[in-house]
């Protein structure tokens, strides 16, 4: 996965033409990677979900811990009444994470380095928001919510409705693609640097020397740009999805989304904070 292919988009392997050329489906690198990610997810689900027992073994304890973490995250962010979205959020998290990390293999292209994949996810989020809005307020009530608080603010509301999936898409796509391009620039720089070092050798030997600087040094950067960035963006994307859906589907009764486990903590937080210095200071 070099920078050129990242910036030019995915390579098209072959093209399926249907209905006398009316519909064309391109099978690209991203499509292949997506199918591989799907396959990995299915295999993981089958392997980890097999042979569940009342008394959890090592593997089952780990999986239960992860699933409980996911449900806790969804409950604290969206409230208890939105817990039905936990499987969707988990799917989003897992496919985004695997899709980013599959680029590390250098065989498959990162699925998240393609704009269309993430645009699809963001549009699903928008669709869920609209569904929840219509379900809560009724169709005309949902339409009326765009004219709030005053009527002439409607265009701004509509623009923000379009900007929401766009900003989600470009954030994730830009992070992954930018990291990949930066990594390829680093690789090219290190290759030319090691070529420069071997310049004193005869040309035939220098051409055969391996690019020694490419060993080890890019690993530190790859840790940040590929691993950390992919993890972070997967988390941020699903967190934003949760926040938007929770906005569209607030708790039915005020005080209904009580965090059962966190009553003590919220009480501690709500106490007045003793301010050391009253005036805000610039740093």
């Amino acid at each position: 996965m070099d920078g050129e292919s990242l910036s030019r988009g995915a390579k098209i392997f072959f093209r399926i033409t249907l209905f006398n050329g009316a519909v064309t489906i391109d099978i690209t690198q991203t499509t292949v990677s997506l199918f591989v990610v799907t396959l990995i997810t299915i295999i993981l689900a089958i392997v980890l979900g097999k042979g569940l027992t009342k008394k959890p073994g090592r593997k089952q304890a780990l999986v239960e811990k992860l699933v409980m973490m996911l449900y806790d995250l969804v409950e604290t962010t969206m409230g208890r009444h939105n817990l039905k979205y936990a499987p969707y959020i988990g799917t989003l998290l897992l496919s985004s994470l695997l899709g980013s990390l599959i680029g590390l293999t250098k065989v498959f292209r990162s699925t998240t380095a393609d704009l269309m994949v993430i645009l699809g996810w963001a549009l699903v989020t928008s669709g869920l928001c609209w569904y929840e809005g219509i379900r809560n307020k009724g169709f005309f009530g949902w339409l009326k919510s765009y004219t709030e608080p005053v009527v002439f603010i409607t265009p701004i509301n509509l623009i923000s409705e379009v900007a929401q999936p766009m900003s989600m898409t470009f954030r994730h796509f830009g992070n992954i693609t930018g990291g990949g391009i930066l990594m390829s620039i680093v690789y090219a720089f290190l290759a030319s640097l090691s070529g420069f070092v071997f310049k004193w050798l005869p040309a035939s030997i220098a051409a055969a020397m391996p690019p020694i600087f490419q060993v080890g040094i890019p690993a530190v950067l790859s840790l940040y740009f590929d691993l950390f960035s992919g993890l972070m963006q997967a988390f941020v994307f699903s967190l934003l999805t949760m926040v938007y859906i929770a906005q569209a589907n607030p708790a039915p009764i005020p005080g209904a989304e009580t965090r059962v486990k966190k009553t003590k903590k919220t009480k501690a937080v709500s106490q007045p904070i003793p301010q050391a210095d009253a005036k805000p200071h610039q740093s």
């Binding site: 910036s7 030019r8 962010t77 900003s167 470009f170 954030r171 796509f173 830009g174 992070n175 693609t177 930018g178 391009i181 972070m232 963006q233 988390f235 941020v236 967190l239 934003l240 926040v243 903590k265 501690a268 937080v269 904070i273 740093s283």
Partner: protein, 81 residues
């Protein structure tokens, strides 16, 4: 390489460099400020650190998006223009 091509290339490189340089100032400052305030909050109230951390990450991601937009513009200038 003839002269017009060279000038176009120069303009592209300069434009992309300027977009990235200017466009990354504000998100960096904003993110630094956000992390600074979150750290102050954590130092004052360590028991609220998990809530603060997730909110800070979300805020950082939203702040970062302006920088990401400038990166996209730089990429468009370099590869699509």
């Amino acid at each position: 390489m003839d002269m017009p091509t060279a000038i176009t290339l120069l303009a592209k490189a300069l434009g992309a460099a300027l977009v990235m340089a200017i466009g990354s100032i504000a998100p960096a400052l904003g993110e630094g400020n956000a992390v600074c305030k979150a750290l102050e909050g954590i130092a004052r109230q360590p028991e609220a650190s998990s809530d603060l951390r997730s909110t800070m990450i979300l805020g950082c991601a939203i702040t970062e998006s302006t920088g990401i937009y400038s990166l996209l513009i730089a990429m468009l200038i370099l590869f699509a223009l």
